[in-house]
Symmetry: C2
Subunit: 222 residues, 2 copies
DNA sequence: CATTTAATTGAACGTTCGTTCTAATTGAAC
DNA sequence: GTTCAATTAGAACGAACGTTCAATTAAATG
């Protein structure tokens, strides 16, 4: 059983696939592009991953498995530090935002692939792709919602959920379009500076969370 | 020159294309899918739109042209009502959010196409697609940034730009994944209720904007 | 009614796609 | 050194892709 460079080969395929999927989307990326990028024969991909869908699945699992784990670990760490008291909204936000934002600090070549992939799966309507991530996402969502409810016990549950969705949305947007943001703001915003982005987001959203229930705005939409 | 059902025919193609692009993405949607949905011959699409890219361009222009116009008009209306005084943050947010959120109130069949399309182009890395929308987006962005600066003169410009990006991001996320949000929140959030979404977003984000410059949080990212 | 022009059609082009199959090659175990 | 299973490679499959073109139909013009 020649393992010569087995892990390295699988990893190379995953790397190339991640880049290709991020750049061109699931349908836009071709298996031949991927194997060219990985320096591997076409059939090798099928040997290891079975199909294009299986390859995508492996790419997502490799990237978002650790992310989910990190999410939960950071939150637990903050809960430990709070010693039984509720974690502050600021800390909860930091736990939500820091692990994904760290991806922006990756080497430039890798960064685009990782972040684009993340942004992409957010809008991916493909049922199969959604299915792959549903379980992981649910778990993370539930953990943070629980922390938020503990931290803001007076806030209506639905309001907290709405606000959490807004945070996820803003995060996905940043990860997905760092380049666009930099261009459209004429350089005023630099998405690569993760600690700056984190500070901006925490400052912005924590104020929003603390204001929950205050607004009684009701506007006609028609 | 037989116009029999000329506009109706072009419109039917655009409708079908919008749905297809929204469901499967640019690469995922095939011209044959589109013409099947429109009840039109394959060559007809090329007669009117030249190519697949031209079709996508037409789809985007039809949808986002009016949206841009509405954006600017609502903002101008609020500025008129303010009679020279700066428009409140709440009103600015309403002007930003209302026109796109109205799309959620469209008939169910159309809604998914429209919103998904919007979400999709947010993450579309295709340079050509980005190019199509760059001009329009820049104009709208600039108008709202100007209003925000007038309304919050003490806030650093970069902070306002960051916050505006967060709002666009959250908005795109809602428009893009209404179904996912409903499922993941177990029905607690109903993205179709546009006035509710608007109220939640305005309440959340206006508090964030008003808190600009307060936070001095600085966290290590490493 | 004849003619011209716009609109529509069916068929086909060459290319690329995801996938499969069979044969060759490799490293480890006996 | 032979055996055997794991791995790699080349070639090909049928299907679907975007696009083109010549021929046909329908409306408008004289």
């Amino acid at each position: 059983m020649p393992k010569r460079a087995k892990e390295s080969r699988q990893a190379k395929i995953l790397d190339a696939a991640e880049t290709a999927f991020a750049d061109d989307g699931y349908n836009g990326a071709s298996m031949r592009d991927i194997v060219r990028g990985a320096g591997v024969n076409l059939a090798t991909v099928y040997y290891y991953f079975g199909s294009k869908n299986g390859l995508m699945e492996a790419v997502l699992k490799r990237r978002f498995g650790p992310l989910r784990q990190e999410h939960l670990e950071v939150l637990r760490q903050f809960e430990r530090e709070a010693k039984g008291r509720p974690v502050s909204v600021e800390k909860i936000l930091e736990a939500m935002l820091l692990p994904p934002l760290r991806l922006l600090a990756a080497p430039a070549a890798k960064r685009q692939a990782v972040t684009r992939l993340m942004g992409r799966i957010v809008t991916e309507p493909d049922a199969q792709t959604q299915e792959i991530l549903h379980g992981q996402r649910s778990e993370v969502r539930a953990a943070f919602l629980k922390a938020l409810r503990a931290s803001l016990p007076k806030a209506p549950a639905a309001d907290l959920q709405w606000r959490m969705e807004f945070v996820w949305g803003a995060l996905a947007f940043i990860l997905c379009n760092p380049r666009t943001i930099e261009v459209e703001t004429h350089g005023a915003c630099n998405p690569v500076d993760a600690s700056k982005v984190l500070a901006e987001m925490v400052g912005f959203f924590s104020a929003g969370f603390r204001a929950v229930g205050i607004s009684t705005l009701m506007v006609s939409v028609t």
